[in-house]
Amino acid sequence: MEAQKSATMTPRTNVASGRRSLGFEKTNLRYTPGQLTALRIPTSRRKPNTRNDIDPEQLAYIANIEWKLSYVTPLYKFRHTQLVLYSKQLSAFIVAEKQKGIAVEVGPEMGFKVVFSVVLGMTETDEDAETVFIKICSKPAFAVEGSAVKVVWSGWFTCVNGNLDYMRSLPSDFVSLPLFCTNGPESITALVKSWFTRMFDCYFGPLSLNSSILQWLGALWTECHPASNIRYLKLAWNLPTLPPLDISYTVHPQDAWNLWSSIRQNDSMEDGISIEEVRRFMKGLESHFFRHFRMHLSAGMLTRICTSLGSAHCDGTIKITGTQYITPVLMLLTECAQLKMPI
Protein backbone atom coordinates (compact mmCIF):
# COMPACT_ATOMS: atom_id res chain seq x y z
CA MET A 1 0.00 0.00 0.00
CA GLU A 2 2.83 2.33 0.97
CA ALA A 3 4.78 1.63 -2.16
CA GLN A 4 1.76 2.22 -4.32
CA LYS A 5 1.21 5.58 -2.72
CA SER A 6 4.72 6.77 -3.34
CA ALA A 7 4.56 5.59 -6.91
CA THR A 8 1.52 7.68 -7.60
CA MET A 9 2.82 10.77 -5.86
CA THR A 10 6.30 10.97 -7.33
CA PRO A 11 6.99 11.32 -11.02
CA ARG A 12 7.13 7.91 -12.51
CA THR A 13 10.20 8.36 -14.65
CA ASN A 14 12.34 8.53 -11.54
CA VAL A 15 10.73 5.66 -9.70
CA ALA A 16 10.25 3.17 -12.40
CA SER A 17 13.52 3.43 -14.25
CA GLY A 18 15.25 0.70 -12.26
CA ARG A 19 12.42 -1.78 -12.60
CA ARG A 20 11.84 -0.96 -16.21
CA SER A 21 15.40 -1.46 -17.29
CA LEU A 22 15.34 -4.79 -15.47
CA GLY A 23 12.28 -6.02 -17.24
CA PHE A 24 13.15 -4.47 -20.54
CA GLU A 25 15.58 -6.99 -21.93
CA LYS A 26 13.34 -9.90 -21.14
CA THR A 27 10.23 -8.47 -22.72
CA ASN A 28 12.05 -7.03 -25.68
CA LEU A 29 13.13 -10.49 -26.71
CA ARG A 30 9.57 -11.70 -26.62
CA TYR A 31 8.48 -9.07 -29.08
CA THR A 32 9.01 -10.88 -32.32
CA PRO A 33 7.06 -9.28 -35.17
CA GLY A 34 4.67 -12.20 -35.35
CA GLN A 35 3.50 -11.68 -31.83
CA LEU A 36 2.98 -7.96 -32.01
CA THR A 37 -0.38 -8.46 -33.61
CA ALA A 38 -1.41 -9.96 -30.28
CA LEU A 39 -1.82 -6.40 -29.01
CA ARG A 40 -5.51 -6.23 -29.64
CA ILE A 41 -8.80 -5.52 -27.97
CA PRO A 42 -9.47 -8.16 -25.31
CA THR A 43 -12.51 -10.39 -25.55
CA SER A 44 -13.81 -9.66 -22.07
CA ARG A 45 -13.89 -6.71 -19.70
CA ARG A 46 -14.75 -6.01 -16.13
CA LYS A 47 -18.12 -4.57 -15.28
CA PRO A 48 -17.96 -0.83 -14.75
CA ASN A 49 -18.04 0.22 -11.12
CA THR A 50 -18.18 3.66 -9.63
CA ARG A 51 -15.05 5.47 -8.52
CA ASN A 52 -14.69 8.51 -6.38
CA ASP A 53 -10.97 8.83 -5.77
CA ILE A 54 -10.40 11.38 -8.54
CA ASP A 55 -10.57 15.01 -7.50
CA PRO A 56 -14.10 16.15 -8.52
CA GLU A 57 -12.83 19.62 -9.31
CA GLN A 58 -10.39 18.25 -11.84
CA LEU A 59 -12.97 15.84 -13.18
CA ALA A 60 -15.26 18.78 -13.86
CA TYR A 61 -12.78 20.03 -16.47
CA ILE A 62 -13.12 16.74 -18.32
CA ALA A 63 -16.84 16.07 -17.99
CA ASN A 64 -19.48 17.41 -20.37
CA ILE A 65 -17.03 18.53 -23.02
CA GLU A 66 -16.77 17.00 -26.46
CA TRP A 67 -13.19 15.79 -26.88
CA LYS A 68 -11.45 15.07 -30.13
CA LEU A 69 -9.29 11.99 -29.78
CA SER A 70 -5.77 11.42 -31.04
CA TYR A 71 -3.10 8.88 -30.30
CA VAL A 72 0.45 9.79 -29.34
CA THR A 73 3.58 7.70 -29.48
CA PRO A 74 5.53 7.58 -26.18
CA LEU A 75 7.02 10.90 -25.09
CA TYR A 76 10.79 11.00 -24.84
CA LYS A 77 12.16 12.57 -21.64
CA PHE A 78 8.83 13.92 -20.50
CA ARG A 79 8.95 14.58 -16.75
CA HIS A 80 5.97 15.25 -14.53
CA THR A 81 8.23 17.41 -12.32
CA GLN A 82 8.89 20.00 -14.99
CA LEU A 83 5.36 21.01 -15.83
CA VAL A 84 5.94 24.65 -14.83
CA LEU A 85 8.83 24.90 -17.26
CA TYR A 86 6.74 23.30 -20.01
CA SER A 87 3.98 25.84 -19.37
CA LYS A 88 6.37 28.73 -20.00
CA GLN A 89 7.94 27.15 -23.04
CA LEU A 90 4.65 26.26 -24.67
CA SER A 91 3.13 29.71 -24.13
CA ALA A 92 6.25 31.34 -25.57
CA PHE A 93 6.08 28.97 -28.52
CA ILE A 94 2.42 29.75 -29.22
CA VAL A 95 3.00 33.50 -29.06
CA ALA A 96 6.02 33.19 -31.33
CA GLU A 97 4.12 31.12 -33.86
CA LYS A 98 1.17 33.50 -33.81
CA GLN A 99 3.46 36.47 -34.43
CA LYS A 100 5.21 34.82 -37.34
CA GLY A 101 4.89 36.93 -40.44
CA ILE A 102 3.16 39.80 -38.68
CA ALA A 103 5.21 43.03 -38.79
CA VAL A 104 3.15 44.98 -36.30
CA GLU A 105 1.17 43.34 -33.58
CA VAL A 106 -2.54 43.68 -34.31
CA GLY A 107 -5.58 42.50 -32.47
CA PRO A 108 -6.02 42.30 -28.74
CA GLU A 109 -5.63 38.54 -28.32
CA MET A 110 -1.89 38.17 -28.28
CA GLY A 111 -1.21 36.97 -24.77
CA PHE A 112 -1.59 33.27 -23.97
CA LYS A 113 -1.25 31.66 -20.60
CA VAL A 114 -0.59 27.95 -20.57
CA VAL A 115 -1.11 25.85 -17.45
CA PHE A 116 0.05 22.25 -17.20
CA SER A 117 -1.37 20.27 -14.31
CA VAL A 118 -1.51 16.66 -13.14
CA VAL A 119 -4.83 14.91 -12.58
CA LEU A 120 -4.03 12.52 -9.77
CA GLY A 121 -5.69 9.16 -9.49
CA MET A 122 -6.75 8.69 -13.09
CA THR A 123 -4.84 5.42 -13.34
CA GLU A 124 -5.56 1.73 -12.89
CA THR A 125 -2.15 0.18 -12.36
CA ASP A 126 1.15 1.44 -10.97
CA GLU A 127 2.66 1.45 -14.42
CA ASP A 128 0.20 4.01 -15.78
CA ALA A 129 1.65 7.50 -16.01
CA GLU A 130 -0.42 10.21 -14.34
CA THR A 131 -2.78 12.19 -16.53
CA VAL A 132 -1.51 15.59 -17.66
CA PHE A 133 -4.02 18.33 -18.25
CA ILE A 134 -3.20 21.42 -20.33
CA LYS A 135 -5.25 24.59 -20.26
CA ILE A 136 -4.63 27.59 -22.49
CA CYS A 137 -6.20 30.90 -21.51
CA SER A 138 -6.13 34.04 -23.58
CA LYS A 139 -5.09 37.29 -21.93
CA PRO A 140 -6.55 40.35 -23.58
CA ALA A 141 -3.96 43.14 -23.70
CA PHE A 142 -6.08 45.63 -21.79
CA ALA A 143 -7.81 43.30 -19.37
CA VAL A 144 -9.26 44.71 -16.19
CA GLU A 145 -7.59 43.34 -13.07
CA GLY A 146 -9.45 40.40 -11.66
CA SER A 147 -11.61 39.80 -14.69
CA ALA A 148 -12.15 36.13 -15.48
CA VAL A 149 -9.71 34.65 -17.97
CA LYS A 150 -11.19 32.85 -20.91
CA VAL A 151 -10.12 29.26 -21.52
CA VAL A 152 -9.63 29.01 -25.27
CA TRP A 153 -8.22 25.54 -25.50
CA SER A 154 -7.81 22.51 -23.28
CA GLY A 155 -6.38 19.09 -23.74
CA TRP A 156 -5.09 16.13 -21.77
CA PHE A 157 -2.84 13.13 -22.09
CA THR A 158 -3.84 9.99 -20.32
CA CYS A 159 -3.12 6.30 -19.90
CA VAL A 160 -5.53 4.10 -17.97
CA ASN A 161 -4.66 0.44 -17.64
CA GLY A 162 -2.20 0.46 -20.52
CA ASN A 163 -0.84 -2.79 -21.88
CA LEU A 164 1.87 -3.80 -19.41
CA ASP A 165 3.95 -5.78 -21.87
CA TYR A 166 4.05 -2.82 -24.19
CA MET A 167 4.93 -0.28 -21.52
CA ARG A 168 7.65 -2.46 -20.03
CA SER A 169 9.21 -2.94 -23.43
CA LEU A 170 9.82 0.81 -23.72
CA PRO A 171 13.24 2.20 -22.86
CA SER A 172 13.24 3.98 -19.51
CA ASP A 173 13.33 7.53 -20.90
CA PHE A 174 9.95 7.17 -22.55
CA VAL A 175 6.62 7.94 -20.91
CA SER A 176 3.62 6.30 -22.51
CA LEU A 177 0.54 8.53 -22.50
CA PRO A 178 -1.12 7.17 -25.62
CA LEU A 179 -4.45 8.98 -25.52
CA PHE A 180 -4.62 12.71 -26.28
CA CYS A 181 -7.97 14.52 -26.04
CA THR A 182 -8.39 18.08 -27.25
CA ASN A 183 -11.08 20.68 -27.24
CA GLY A 184 -10.67 24.06 -28.89
CA PRO A 185 -9.67 25.65 -32.19
CA GLU A 186 -7.81 23.42 -34.62
CA SER A 187 -5.08 26.03 -35.05
CA ILE A 188 -4.07 25.82 -31.40
CA THR A 189 -4.31 22.02 -31.44
CA ALA A 190 -1.89 22.00 -34.35
CA LEU A 191 0.49 24.32 -32.49
CA VAL A 192 0.41 22.23 -29.33
CA LYS A 193 0.97 19.08 -31.33
CA SER A 194 3.92 20.55 -33.17
CA TRP A 195 5.47 21.73 -29.89
CA PHE A 196 5.12 18.26 -28.37
CA THR A 197 6.46 16.66 -31.52
CA ARG A 198 9.58 18.83 -31.32
CA MET A 199 10.07 18.66 -27.57
CA PHE A 200 9.41 14.99 -26.92
CA ASP A 201 10.07 13.42 -30.28
CA CYS A 202 6.61 11.91 -30.56
CA TYR A 203 4.02 11.54 -33.30
CA PHE A 204 0.31 12.35 -33.24
CA GLY A 205 -2.35 10.65 -35.31
CA PRO A 206 -6.13 10.75 -35.40
CA LEU A 207 -7.95 8.09 -33.41
CA SER A 208 -11.21 6.91 -34.92
CA LEU A 209 -13.58 4.60 -33.10
CA ASN A 210 -14.62 1.56 -35.07
CA SER A 211 -17.98 -0.11 -34.65
CA SER A 212 -16.79 -2.77 -32.25
CA ILE A 213 -15.48 -0.07 -29.89
CA LEU A 214 -18.79 1.77 -30.12
CA GLN A 215 -20.63 -1.47 -29.39
CA TRP A 216 -18.48 -2.00 -26.32
CA LEU A 217 -19.27 1.51 -25.12
CA GLY A 218 -22.99 0.94 -25.66
CA ALA A 219 -22.87 -2.26 -23.64
CA LEU A 220 -20.77 -0.73 -20.85
CA TRP A 221 -23.15 2.18 -20.48
CA THR A 222 -26.24 -0.04 -20.60
CA GLU A 223 -24.70 -2.16 -17.87
CA CYS A 224 -24.74 0.95 -15.63
CA HIS A 225 -28.48 1.46 -16.04
CA PRO A 226 -29.74 0.07 -12.70
CA ALA A 227 -27.18 2.10 -10.73
CA SER A 228 -27.65 5.34 -12.60
CA ASN A 229 -30.41 5.85 -15.09
CA ILE A 230 -29.08 6.10 -18.65
CA ARG A 231 -32.37 7.73 -19.75
CA TYR A 232 -31.97 6.69 -23.40
CA LEU A 233 -29.79 4.57 -25.67
CA LYS A 234 -29.36 6.23 -29.03
CA LEU A 235 -27.54 4.61 -31.90
CA ALA A 236 -26.91 5.87 -35.41
CA TRP A 237 -26.04 3.90 -38.50
CA ASN A 238 -24.95 4.87 -41.95
CA LEU A 239 -26.11 2.55 -44.70
CA PRO A 240 -24.21 2.59 -48.01
CA THR A 241 -27.28 2.83 -50.22
CA LEU A 242 -27.79 5.34 -53.01
CA PRO A 243 -28.19 7.99 -51.66
CA PRO A 244 -26.59 7.09 -48.29
CA LEU A 245 -29.09 6.54 -45.54
CA ASP A 246 -28.61 7.76 -41.99
CA ILE A 247 -30.62 5.82 -39.47
CA SER A 248 -31.03 6.88 -35.90
CA TYR A 249 -32.36 4.36 -33.44
CA THR A 250 -33.47 5.29 -29.92
CA VAL A 251 -34.15 2.59 -27.38
CA HIS A 252 -36.06 3.06 -24.16
CA PRO A 253 -33.60 2.47 -21.29
CA GLN A 254 -35.76 -0.17 -19.66
CA ASP A 255 -36.05 -2.11 -22.92
CA ALA A 256 -32.32 -1.90 -23.45
CA TRP A 257 -31.73 -3.12 -19.91
CA ASN A 258 -34.24 -5.97 -20.32
CA LEU A 259 -32.52 -7.11 -23.50
CA TRP A 260 -29.11 -6.80 -21.90
CA SER A 261 -30.07 -8.70 -18.75
CA SER A 262 -31.75 -11.45 -20.77
CA ILE A 263 -28.45 -11.93 -22.56
CA ARG A 264 -26.47 -11.73 -19.36
CA GLN A 265 -28.51 -14.42 -17.63
CA ASN A 266 -27.23 -17.10 -19.92
CA ASP A 267 -23.66 -16.57 -18.92
CA SER A 268 -22.16 -17.29 -15.57
CA MET A 269 -19.38 -14.71 -15.73
CA GLU A 270 -20.21 -12.57 -12.70
CA ASP A 271 -18.09 -9.47 -12.87
CA GLY A 272 -17.09 -9.49 -16.51
CA ILE A 273 -18.62 -8.81 -19.90
CA SER A 274 -17.57 -10.86 -22.90
CA ILE A 275 -17.45 -9.80 -26.52
CA GLU A 276 -20.00 -12.51 -27.29
CA GLU A 277 -22.54 -10.85 -25.02
CA VAL A 278 -21.92 -7.49 -26.67
CA ARG A 279 -22.41 -9.07 -30.11
CA ARG A 280 -25.63 -10.75 -29.03
CA PHE A 281 -26.91 -7.48 -27.59
CA MET A 282 -26.30 -5.64 -30.86
CA LYS A 283 -27.74 -8.53 -32.84
CA GLY A 284 -30.87 -8.32 -30.72
CA LEU A 285 -31.24 -4.62 -31.46
CA GLU A 286 -30.56 -5.16 -35.15
CA SER A 287 -33.02 -8.02 -35.54
CA HIS A 288 -35.71 -5.96 -33.84
CA PHE A 289 -35.11 -3.23 -36.39
CA PHE A 290 -35.19 -5.79 -39.20
CA ARG A 291 -38.54 -7.10 -38.03
CA HIS A 292 -40.06 -3.64 -38.40
CA PHE A 293 -38.29 -2.11 -41.36
CA ARG A 294 -36.80 -5.06 -43.29
CA MET A 295 -33.40 -3.48 -43.28
CA HIS A 296 -30.15 -5.11 -42.28
CA LEU A 297 -28.36 -2.65 -40.04
CA SER A 298 -25.32 -4.91 -40.09
CA ALA A 299 -24.81 -3.98 -43.74
CA GLY A 300 -24.01 -0.44 -42.65
CA MET A 301 -21.64 1.18 -40.24
CA LEU A 302 -22.40 2.14 -36.67
CA THR A 303 -21.49 5.82 -36.45
CA ARG A 304 -22.68 7.04 -33.09
CA ILE A 305 -23.68 5.78 -29.69
CA CYS A 306 -25.21 7.99 -27.07
CA THR A 307 -26.67 7.67 -23.57
CA SER A 308 -27.08 10.17 -20.79
CA LEU A 309 -23.74 8.89 -19.46
CA GLY A 310 -21.90 9.97 -22.57
CA SER A 311 -21.73 9.89 -26.31
CA ALA A 312 -19.19 8.72 -28.86
CA HIS A 313 -18.90 9.23 -32.58
CA CYS A 314 -16.95 7.06 -35.00
CA ASP A 315 -14.85 9.99 -36.26
CA GLY A 316 -13.17 10.07 -32.87
CA THR A 317 -15.08 12.45 -30.64
CA ILE A 318 -16.31 11.52 -27.22
CA LYS A 319 -18.21 13.24 -24.46
CA ILE A 320 -18.32 11.79 -20.98
CA THR A 321 -21.14 12.94 -18.77
CA GLY A 322 -21.30 10.22 -16.14
CA THR A 323 -17.89 10.79 -14.63
CA GLN A 324 -18.35 8.01 -12.07
CA TYR A 325 -17.88 5.55 -14.94
CA ILE A 326 -14.99 7.37 -16.56
CA THR A 327 -12.42 4.63 -15.90
CA PRO A 328 -13.86 1.83 -18.08
CA VAL A 329 -14.34 4.28 -20.94
CA LEU A 330 -10.78 5.54 -20.69
CA MET A 331 -9.47 1.99 -20.43
CA LEU A 332 -11.18 1.17 -23.69
CA LEU A 333 -9.84 4.29 -25.39
CA THR A 334 -6.32 3.69 -24.07
CA GLU A 335 -6.41 0.22 -25.61
CA CYS A 336 -7.56 1.70 -28.90
CA ALA A 337 -4.76 4.24 -28.88
CA GLN A 338 -2.18 1.60 -28.03
CA LEU A 339 -3.28 -0.50 -30.98
CA LYS A 340 -2.16 2.38 -33.19
CA MET A 341 1.37 2.44 -31.79
CA PRO A 342 4.06 1.63 -34.29
CA ILE A 343 6.15 -1.24 -32.95
Binding site: G34, Q35, T37, A38, N210, S212, A299, G300, M301
Partner: protein, 185 residues
Protein backbone atom coordinates in the same frame (compact mmCIF):
# COMPACT_ATOMS: atom_id res chain seq x y z
CA UNK B 1 -31.77 -24.64 -55.60
CA UNK B 2 -28.80 -26.42 -57.02
CA UNK B 3 -25.25 -26.75 -55.94
CA UNK B 4 -22.59 -26.29 -58.54
CA UNK B 5 -19.93 -28.93 -58.85
CA UNK B 6 -16.47 -28.43 -60.33
CA UNK B 7 -16.28 -31.66 -62.28
CA UNK B 8 -19.86 -32.50 -63.17
CA UNK B 9 -19.70 -30.85 -66.60
CA UNK B 10 -17.21 -31.02 -69.43
CA UNK B 11 -15.00 -28.01 -70.03
CA UNK B 12 -15.26 -26.12 -73.31
CA UNK B 13 -12.29 -25.40 -75.51
CA UNK B 14 -10.32 -22.27 -74.66
CA UNK B 15 -12.91 -21.06 -72.20
CA UNK B 16 -12.73 -19.97 -68.57
CA UNK B 17 -15.74 -19.28 -66.38
CA UNK B 18 -15.63 -17.36 -63.14
CA UNK B 19 -18.40 -16.82 -60.63
CA UNK B 20 -18.30 -13.63 -58.56
CA UNK B 21 -20.30 -13.89 -55.35
CA UNK B 22 -21.05 -10.62 -53.60
CA UNK B 23 -23.97 -9.79 -51.38
CA UNK B 24 -23.95 -6.02 -51.99
CA UNK B 25 -23.45 -5.99 -55.75
CA UNK B 26 -21.19 -2.94 -55.55
CA UNK B 27 -18.00 -4.22 -57.09
CA UNK B 28 -19.27 -7.17 -59.15
CA UNK B 29 -20.17 -5.30 -62.35
CA UNK B 30 -17.04 -3.17 -62.54
CA UNK B 31 -14.85 -6.14 -61.80
CA UNK B 32 -16.62 -8.27 -64.40
CA UNK B 33 -16.12 -5.58 -67.06
CA UNK B 34 -12.47 -5.25 -66.16
CA UNK B 35 -11.91 -9.01 -66.30
CA UNK B 36 -13.56 -9.38 -69.70
CA UNK B 37 -11.70 -6.42 -71.17
CA UNK B 38 -8.31 -7.57 -70.00
CA UNK B 39 -8.40 -11.06 -71.42
CA UNK B 40 -7.99 -11.35 -75.19
CA UNK B 41 -6.74 -14.86 -75.82
CA UNK B 42 -9.31 -16.85 -73.91
CA UNK B 43 -13.10 -16.72 -73.84
CA UNK B 44 -13.85 -15.53 -70.36
CA UNK B 45 -17.39 -15.71 -69.04
CA UNK B 46 -18.15 -13.94 -65.80
CA UNK B 47 -21.19 -14.99 -63.82
CA UNK B 48 -22.55 -12.92 -60.97
CA UNK B 49 -24.42 -14.07 -57.90
CA UNK B 50 -25.60 -12.46 -54.71
CA UNK B 51 -25.10 -15.64 -52.77
CA UNK B 52 -25.08 -19.40 -52.95
CA UNK B 53 -26.83 -21.74 -53.67
CA UNK B 54 -27.63 -20.75 -57.23
CA UNK B 55 -31.19 -21.09 -58.53
CA UNK B 56 -32.06 -24.37 -60.25
CA UNK B 57 -33.80 -22.91 -63.30
CA UNK B 58 -30.77 -22.33 -65.56
CA UNK B 59 -28.93 -25.36 -64.36
CA UNK B 60 -28.53 -26.99 -67.82
CA UNK B 61 -27.31 -23.85 -69.57
CA UNK B 62 -24.80 -22.98 -66.93
CA UNK B 63 -21.24 -23.76 -67.97
CA UNK B 64 -18.72 -25.41 -65.73
CA UNK B 65 -17.54 -22.86 -63.16
CA UNK B 66 -13.77 -22.91 -62.91
CA UNK B 67 -13.31 -20.42 -60.11
CA UNK B 68 -15.56 -19.01 -57.39
CA UNK B 69 -14.55 -15.59 -56.06
CA UNK B 70 -16.12 -14.37 -52.84
CA UNK B 71 -16.04 -10.59 -52.58
CA UNK B 72 -16.07 -9.43 -48.97
CA UNK B 73 -16.43 -5.78 -47.95
CA UNK B 74 -14.91 -5.39 -44.54
CA UNK B 75 -16.99 -2.27 -43.92
CA UNK B 76 -20.12 -4.35 -43.43
CA UNK B 77 -20.70 -7.22 -41.09
CA UNK B 78 -23.43 -8.58 -43.34
CA UNK B 79 -20.98 -9.09 -46.17
CA UNK B 80 -18.87 -11.39 -44.02
CA UNK B 81 -21.87 -13.25 -42.62
CA UNK B 82 -23.40 -13.88 -46.04
CA UNK B 83 -20.07 -15.13 -47.35
CA UNK B 84 -19.89 -17.58 -44.48
CA UNK B 85 -23.40 -18.79 -45.30
CA UNK B 86 -22.63 -19.13 -49.00
CA UNK B 87 -19.49 -21.12 -48.29
CA UNK B 88 -21.57 -23.81 -46.62
CA UNK B 89 -23.45 -24.35 -49.89
CA UNK B 90 -20.34 -24.77 -51.99
CA UNK B 91 -19.28 -28.21 -53.17
CA UNK B 92 -16.18 -29.49 -51.42
CA UNK B 93 -14.45 -30.12 -54.74
CA UNK B 94 -14.05 -26.38 -55.18
CA UNK B 95 -11.75 -26.12 -52.22
CA UNK B 96 -9.08 -27.95 -54.20
CA UNK B 97 -7.81 -24.73 -55.69
CA UNK B 98 -10.96 -23.24 -57.20
CA UNK B 99 -12.00 -20.71 -54.57
CA UNK B 100 -10.52 -17.38 -53.64
CA UNK B 101 -11.50 -14.42 -51.50
CA UNK B 102 -11.32 -10.79 -52.55
CA UNK B 103 -11.32 -8.32 -49.68
CA UNK B 104 -11.97 -4.59 -49.92
CA UNK B 105 -11.61 -1.83 -47.38
CA UNK B 106 -8.88 -3.45 -45.34
CA UNK B 107 -6.95 -0.18 -45.13
CA UNK B 108 -9.87 1.84 -43.79
CA UNK B 109 -9.25 2.84 -40.17
CA UNK B 110 -12.90 2.58 -39.22
CA UNK B 111 -13.12 -1.13 -39.89
CA UNK B 112 -12.98 -3.35 -36.80
CA UNK B 113 -9.83 -5.46 -36.79
CA UNK B 114 -11.71 -8.60 -35.75
CA UNK B 115 -13.41 -8.86 -39.13
CA UNK B 116 -10.19 -9.20 -41.06
CA UNK B 117 -8.84 -11.59 -38.46
CA UNK B 118 -11.89 -13.85 -38.70
CA UNK B 119 -11.80 -13.72 -42.49
CA UNK B 120 -8.13 -14.66 -42.48
CA UNK B 121 -8.91 -17.54 -40.17
CA UNK B 122 -11.67 -18.64 -42.51
CA UNK B 123 -9.47 -18.44 -45.61
CA UNK B 124 -6.61 -20.07 -43.78
CA UNK B 125 -8.67 -23.00 -42.58
CA UNK B 126 -10.08 -23.55 -46.09
CA UNK B 127 -6.60 -23.25 -47.67
CA UNK B 128 -7.74 -20.53 -50.05
CA UNK B 129 -5.87 -17.49 -51.30
CA UNK B 130 -6.94 -14.10 -49.96
CA UNK B 131 -6.61 -11.15 -52.34
CA UNK B 132 -6.80 -7.55 -51.23
CA UNK B 133 -8.37 -5.02 -53.54
CA UNK B 134 -9.17 -1.35 -53.76
CA UNK B 135 -12.74 -0.83 -54.95
CA UNK B 136 -12.89 2.97 -55.06
CA UNK B 137 -10.53 3.64 -57.96
CA UNK B 138 -10.46 2.29 -61.50
CA UNK B 139 -6.80 1.30 -61.17
CA UNK B 140 -7.67 -0.68 -58.08
CA UNK B 141 -10.45 -2.57 -59.85
CA UNK B 142 -8.27 -3.34 -62.87
CA UNK B 143 -5.47 -4.59 -60.60
CA UNK B 144 -7.96 -6.82 -58.83
CA UNK B 145 -9.20 -8.08 -62.21
CA UNK B 146 -5.63 -8.87 -63.22
CA UNK B 147 -5.07 -10.93 -60.10
CA UNK B 148 -8.34 -12.81 -60.43
CA UNK B 149 -7.52 -13.56 -64.07
CA UNK B 150 -4.13 -14.98 -63.14
CA UNK B 151 -5.78 -17.44 -60.79
CA UNK B 152 -8.63 -18.13 -63.20
CA UNK B 153 -6.29 -19.11 -66.03
CA UNK B 154 -4.63 -21.64 -63.80
CA UNK B 155 -7.79 -23.09 -62.31
CA UNK B 156 -9.39 -23.37 -65.75
CA UNK B 157 -6.44 -25.47 -66.85
CA UNK B 158 -5.16 -23.00 -69.44
CA UNK B 159 -1.64 -22.78 -68.05
CA UNK B 160 0.47 -25.83 -68.89
CA UNK B 161 2.08 -27.73 -66.03
CA UNK B 162 0.22 -25.84 -63.27
CA UNK B 163 -2.98 -26.89 -61.55
CA UNK B 164 -5.26 -24.93 -59.28
CA UNK B 165 -4.41 -27.13 -56.34
CA UNK B 166 -0.71 -26.55 -56.86
CA UNK B 167 -1.15 -22.79 -57.11
CA UNK B 168 -3.38 -22.52 -54.10
CA UNK B 169 -0.99 -24.52 -51.97
CA UNK B 170 1.56 -21.82 -52.76
CA UNK B 171 -0.72 -18.80 -52.40
CA UNK B 172 -3.11 -19.86 -49.67
CA UNK B 173 -3.63 -17.62 -46.71
CA UNK B 174 -1.86 -18.74 -43.56
CA UNK B 175 -3.83 -19.01 -40.38
CA UNK B 176 -2.92 -16.07 -38.15
CA UNK B 177 -1.29 -16.98 -34.87
CA UNK B 178 -3.37 -16.48 -31.80
CA UNK B 179 -2.07 -14.46 -28.87
CA UNK B 180 -0.83 -17.54 -27.05
CA UNK B 181 1.01 -18.71 -30.14
CA UNK B 182 -1.21 -21.67 -30.94
CA UNK B 183 -2.68 -22.16 -34.38
CA UNK B 184 -6.43 -22.36 -34.46
CA UNK B 185 -8.24 -24.26 -37.13
Amino acid sequence: MSSIKPFSKLPQLNTANVLLVENEGKLQNDLADAIVQQENNVNVTVRLARGLPLPAENEENRPRIDLVVFIVHLSSELSLVSTENSLKQLDTGYFLGKVCFLVTGARCGLVPDERLVSLRKLAGSLHCPLLFAEDQTREGVSTAAQRVLKILRVSAGLVPMVTGLYLSSLTRCTVPLDSDGSVQD
